[in-house]
């Protein structure tokens, strides 16, 4: 399954759209498929500080709980209220309308994968 080439990925199955100091973050199609139907999403509040590697939100399906892990230190500038209201967006459009948070990064995230590397990871 080819993932969008313009995004960067983490081994925690999150994607980042990096634009300068800002990043939009979501979970990948692979992660959404593994979770099953998402029924509840909790996201960090706007203006809250986040710390790279720390859990800042939850994505719950009927069967399990996925964690949103901050990809780097930074500040939340927007949480996707549409996803909180309609968690199924995470399944139906994980790389688009199902985005989770926009953050201002204190520094560039490390150890990100490009699309080819992420595809290779999930093909294992």
């Amino acid at each position: 399954m080819a993932v969008p080439a313009n995004l960067k990925y983490t081994t925690e199955h999150e994607w980042l759209l990096i634009e300068g100091d800002f990043a939009t973050v979501g979970i990948t199609q692979y992660a959404a498929d593994q979770l099953g139907d998402v029924v509840f999403v909790e996201l960090p509040e706007t203006d809250s500080a986040i710390e790279g590697g720390v859990v800042v939100g939850e994505i719950e399906s009927t069967k399990s709980v996925g964690e949103l892990i901050a990809p780097a230190n930074g500040t939340v500038i927007e949480s996707n209220q549409a996803v909180v209201d309609s968690p199924e967006l995470v399944n139906s459009d994980p790389f688009g309308e199902g985005w989770l948070v926009k953050v201002r990064l204190d520094s560039a995230p490390e150890n990100l994968l490009d699309a080819a590397a992420y595809d290779a990871l999930t093909a294992e």
């Binding site: 498929d33 099953g36 139907d37 029924v39 509840f40 909790e42 719950e60 009927t62 069967k63 709980v65």
Partner: protein, 427 residues
């Protein structure tokens, strides 16, 4: 699942249902269940859940274990080996029962179909297959030994069984590998079975009552194969379970699916089976039931027929019962969307003991140490709010009692609610 027997090392290799190819072709996602690779969902577990509530779903549950108990003394043997009075079950009837340990705790929960005067069909959980087969075979040997020795007068249960005192004849045969099990569940299930090409039953299905069964057969180009059709299930809906030879399962699945298309039948996986049974308040072995649980704690005291004649395995343990104050099974409900899941701890409300908070828990239950544990929980797809099954301190078990559940570090309010959470409207 923790109850796998280490002595059966074939369980270390994944096992596949006779319908595996069909599931792969349908694009199913698989999960390990008691060593079996079974479909967890085909597309969306929520859509599959709603389909079963509103139309119908077809499930492959071939991982379940099927054990034949037969012989002239099969009925009296099962009275000895199981918790219920199986000798009182009529031919064609099914009965939910329990396989108890000597101590009176639960080795497995079972459905037993009586297929003739001398033949019973015992359906056990996949993860308990060997535990159930081993226990039944051991008990058959004990039971026969007691009968042969003529010691029935000792109150061992043989005295009332009609045994001549010379031989006791019962055989226990594990037929799990040869048997496939397909469930069709939902309000349209009857119409679907009636419309299925090649499927015939010895008597009409429409008047068949819940927990009754009928012998049938399924005929396709390869010929005719026997099918046991039970009006049983694990979803809280009307529905049927069909037992057929494993090598004919694919053909039956296709025939049912084909007939069901116009009624909205969808293939349904184990994920929705779990949310469906949870809404229906049905226990799942390994969650609500285990070797540490007495039936009385799980609200299943009535399943143990203490009034039946003679001894049975677990009678003495049942009479002693669980320790005073043992936790009991309750249903929990909450507002919001956040599910309490298996393993989460339950606490008495913080207000308990405060004189101006009369609605809280009794003061005997401290609010700072766990007073219960969630065994199953989900955001109910049908009801739209969180539901859970949980064991709690008996002081917290009354319907309406407010408790808090530690959901990954946050205390959320739940209240004890009546079971089942969901009950279908009877026509």
């Amino acid at each position: 699942m923790t109850q796998l027997s280490a002595s059966h090392n074939e369980l270390t290799q994944p096992r596949f249902s006779p319908l595996h190819r069909i599931h792969e072709d349908a694009g199913a996602t698989f999960t390990d269940f008691a060593g079996w690779q079974m479909p967890v969902r085909y597309t969306s577990d929520l859509a599959e859940h709603h389909a079963v509530r509103n139309a119908a779903g077809i499930f492959d549950i071939s991982h379940m274990a099927e054990i034949i108990v037969e012989g002239p003394d099969a009925a009296s043997f099962l009275d000895y080996a199981l918790a219920g009075k199986l000798s009182a079950v009529k031919i064609g009837q099914a009965k939910y029962s329990l396989l108890l340990s000597e101590r009176g705790t639960v080795i497995d929960d079972l459905v037993v179909y009586r297929r003739s005067e001398e033949k019973f069909f015992v359906v056990a959980n996949a993860g308990n297959r060997y535990a159930a087969v081993d226990a039944l075979q051991e008990r058959a040997a004990e039971f026969s030994g007691v009968g042969v020795s003529g010691s029935g007068v000792s109150g061992s249960g043989v005295s009332g069984s009609g045994v001549s005192g010379i031989t006791v004849t019962v055989t226990v045969t594990d037929q799990s590998d040869e048997t496939a099990l397909i469930a069709v569940q939902g309000p349209r299930a009857l119409e679907i079975l009636e419309a299925t090409a090649g499927l015939a039953s010895a008597s009409p299905l429409e008047p068949l009552k819940y927990y009754w069964s009928v012998e049938g057969d399924f005929t396709d180009a390869d010929g005719s194969a026997p099918v046991l059709i039970g009006r049983t299930g694990y979803t809280g809906e009307d529905g049927f379970e069909l037992y057929i030879d494993a090598d004919r399962a694919e053909s039956l699945w296709r025939a049912l699916s084909s007939a069901g298309a116009e009624f909205g039948l969808v293939a349904a996986g184990l994920a929705c089976r779990d949310t469906l049974r949870l809404e229906a308040g049905m226990p799942l072995y390994g969650h609500e039931l285990s070797l540490d649980i007495f039936p009385a704690q799980a609200g299943l005291g009535r399943v143990v027929a203490l009034s039946k004649e003679g001894d049975f395995v677990g009678r003495e343990g049942t009479e002693i019962g669980p320790a005073e104050g043992s936790w009991v099974l309750v249903g929990l409900s909450a507002e919001g969307k956040r599910a309490a899941r298996a393993g989460y701890e339950i606490f008495a409300e913080q207000e308990a003991g405060s004189p101006d908070a009369p609605a809280g828990a009794p003061t005997s239950v401290p609010a700072d140490i766990p007073a219960g544990i969630v065994t199953s929980g989900a955001l109910s797809p049908t009801l739209g709010h969180p539901i859970a099954l949980a064991y709690v301190d008996p002081a917290l078990a009354e319907v309406g009692t407010e408790v808090s559940v530690d959901i990954r570090g946050k205390r959320m309010n739940f209240h004890v609610s009546t079971l089942p959470f969901y009950k279908r409207e009877k026509k």
